[in-house]
């Protein structure tokens, strides 16, 4: 005797509300702003969401286990620069090799984070604040004030961000976005259907219970951090493909943007609930609101950060309110059932 909406899980409600919000925002913006619903707007949002969204997938895996990875910005920057300079030095290097290199370098950095957190029992926020500085230091020393320039890269890298795989009407679908969307689908399926995915939730909901149940908690946390690093490495490659010109400050601040996407996307910062799809939608909504509000209200670029801060707070607060409301609803329902 349950109505369909009573069977929705909280995270599905969250995803649904994000989709509705995105729809409402699109409607308002397109009616208020001239030429908003054009291919150009879509492409601009898609290009930046492709990078932040990729990082947000990995961040979700880590946050689900009740940890956090603040070093991803430095990982994105390091891999972008490292792979860029390798490609510049060796123009013959193929795409698969470059992508694998990016994933391996990022994964290695994530592995270091994971070992320190899982086996050294150092809180994730301390570890990754430290490695945020350390990886950036490695990058600055490695870069030595030089810049990877577009001209030095093989042509196919820069082409990646301009090519159109296929277009729906005016909307061009670019390879960067396709890669990120594929990763979202894969990791969403991993979270729902694999043992590893379910264990991430188990550890985040109650680490002690998970340990008593015999889950290899350390190994799972290590895997989550390694995957997060690998995805950040892949994002670094996308960063390289999108911008072409890479300096030592590349990727700075992406750690905050990814955490923001995850939080807006409804992933609980205390672990145990949330989805990759939600985080991706969160990244999309943030960028859409950023682009739209700036143009709609006619305000300058300088308002962006203030709006983003407000948005994060609203997301967290509404989460708390919605959760409290649902809890009361369920309590009432179980009481009714007991009464019967």
């Amino acid at each position: 005797m349950t109505i369909w909406w009573q069977r929705l899980r909280p995270e599905q409600i969250r995803e649904l509300s994000l989709v509705v919000l995105i729809g409402v925002a699109l409607l308002i913006f397109s009616s208020q702003i001239e030429n908003f619903l054009t291919a150009r707007t879509f492409n601009r949002i898609a290009a930046s969401v492709a990078i932040v969204g990729m990082v947000a997938i990995g961040q979700t895996l880590v946050v689900l286990t009740r940890n956090i990875d603040l070093s991803v910005g430095s990982i994105v920057g390091f891999t972008a620069y490292f792979v860029g300079s390798q490609l510049a030095a060796n123009n013959a290097m193929g795409a698969p090799a470059a992508v694998l290199l990016a994933i391996a370098v990022g994964g290695g950095m994530g592995l270091v984070n994971g070992v320190i957190v899982a086996y050294g029992r150092v809180p994730a926020i301390i570890t990754t604040l430290g490695t945020l500085a350390i990886y950036r230091m490695l990058l600055i020393n490695y870069a030595n004030a030089r810049t990877v320039t577009v001209d030095s890269l093989p042509a196919w890298v820069v082409e990646l961000s301009r090519q159109t795989l296929f277009s729906i009407g005016d909307f061009a679908v670019r390879p960067l976005m396709v890669v990120t969307l594929a990763a979202v689908v894969i990791f969403q399926l991993v979270l729902i259907y694999t043992i590893f995915g379910r264990r991430l939730y188990a550890i985040g909901s109650n680490p002690e219970a998970a340990r008593f149940a015999g889950l290899p908690a350390q190994r799972i946390v290590l895997t989550a951090f390694t995957l997060c690093g690998a995805l950040a490495g892949l994002a670094g490659f996308l960063f390289l493909a999108r911008f072409g010109t890479i300096t030592a400050v590349a990727g700075q601040g992406i750690e905050l943007e990814s955490v923001a996407a995850v939080v807006v996307g409804g992933v609980n910062t205390f672990g145990g609930s949330g989805t990759v799809l939600g985080a991706f939608l969160g990244a999309f909504l943030i960028d859409l609101l950023g682009q739209g509000l700036l143009r709609w209200l006619g305000i300058s670029e300088f308002w962006r950060d203030a709006l983003l801060g407000l948005l994060i707070l609203l997301a967290v607060a509404s989460d708390a309110v919605i959760l409290g409301w649902l809890r009361r609803l369920w309590q009432a329902r179980t009481e009714v059932n007991h009464g019967n």
Binding site: I126, T269, D305, A320
Partner: protein, 337 residues
């Protein structure tokens, strides 16, 4: 309690040993290092961060975190500059900047203490949002040309060879030490940090305490921001950006647990000395700023990792000894039967 005390002594001993090592290396490299002038200079270069570290110790011992302090510093500095530029008298501009800091702290505190949101998320929003307000105010300009008394206060000695900010730091350190280690409020900070739920059921108004600490954090950060503006003589939208890393590092290196309830201001004071001397020493060795930050990042991780490794090794040894004892007892029983 005894084990806590022993742990504390061991931790502070560890910091003292590092400090001694750093000082010895520095002195052997540069004889001028231990002069009063250099020591004052070394404090002056990071004075705003270490002032905020004092109040950050309260926040973290209380079981929360405040990532927004650097943005509050930047906001206060920008607000002072913009108000002054628009023709307001400097003292009034400073007062309004400090009030803005109180408002930022109260904003964070409200969501954390009364709504019950995680401080990591709230102050992350604050970190981005307050910085955003600063950017709206100042856009991409740089504002300088402050009155002479203001920059003089920020840069020149005030009492003897000591500048105002150093006098303020010393006063605040003494005040914080008394409040945290020797007063009833200080005990409450530890109790709430150890177990907020138990504290609440014991009748402690945990929400008011947390609110108070966040407001203090906002106020002190704003004050530090104004001091920074006075010392630098000019303000930009990215003033004090990234300072939260150094501030939190100092507190954690001082033996304060990120989970709350553990740590004291003596440790934080020693950590301040270690980090300042280490940075100064690396500067003497011509180590660049980003490598210095990296080294401090390594130190931050090691400061938690090393004690953990020692603890794990000890647990393993104890387990092995216990196993051996079990075997021993088993053989005894088998002999007696």
């Amino acid at each position: 309690m005894a084990t806590n005390l022993r742990r504390l002594l061991r931790w502070e001993g560890f910091l003292l040993a590092i400090l001694a090592l750093v000082v010895i290396v520095n002195v052997s490299r540069a004889p001028a290092y231990l002069t009063l002038a250099n020591q004052i200079n070394l404090f002056q270069l990071s004075i705003e961060k270490i002032i905020v570290a004092l109040v950050m110790a309260f926040v973290i011992i209380n079981g929360e975190i405040d990532l927004s302090v650097a943005s509050v510093m930047g906001l206060a500095a920008c607000l002072t500059a913009v108000l002054f530029e628009s023709g307001m008298p400097m003292p009034l501009a400073i007062l309004i900047a400090l009030l803005a800091g109180v408002c930022c702290g109260a904003f964070n505190g409200f969501w954390v203490a009364y709504v019950g949101l995680p401080s990591l998320a709230v102050t992350l929003a604050g970190m981005i949002g307050f910085r955003g307000v600063a950017r709206i105010l100042i856009e991409d300009r740089s504002i300088g040309g402050f009155p002479e008394w203001f920059t003089t206060l920020g840069q020149q000695p005030l009492i003897g060879p000591f500048p105002l900010s150093l006098v303020l730091f010393a006063t605040l350190f003494a005040l914080a030490l008394i409040i945290l280690q020797f007063s009833g409020v200080g005990r409450l900070v530890y109790v709430v940090g150890n177990n907020a739920a138990v504290a609440r059921y014991s009748g402690i108004d945990t929400a008011r305490l947390k609110m108070g600490i966040f407001i203090a954090s906002g106020l002190i950060a704003a004050m530090a921001g104004v001091l920074l503006a006075a010392r630098l003589g000019a303000v930009r939208g990215n003033t004090a950006e990234g300072f939260e890393l150094d501030i939190i590092t100092i507190v954690l290196l001082g033996g304060v647990s990120i989970f709350g309830g553990v740590g004291n201001l003596v440790g934080v004071g020693l950590a301040i000395l270690v980090i300042l001397n280490l940075r100064n020493g690396m500067s003497l060795l011509n180590v660049t700023g980003n490598v210095q930050t990296g080294v401090i990042g390594v130190l931050l991780i090691l400061s938690v990792l090393l004690p953990n490794l020692v603890q794990m090794a000890r647990e393993r040894i104890q387990r092995r000894m216990a196993e051996r004892k079990e075997v021993h007892i088993e053989t005894e029983t088998s002999v007696s039967s």
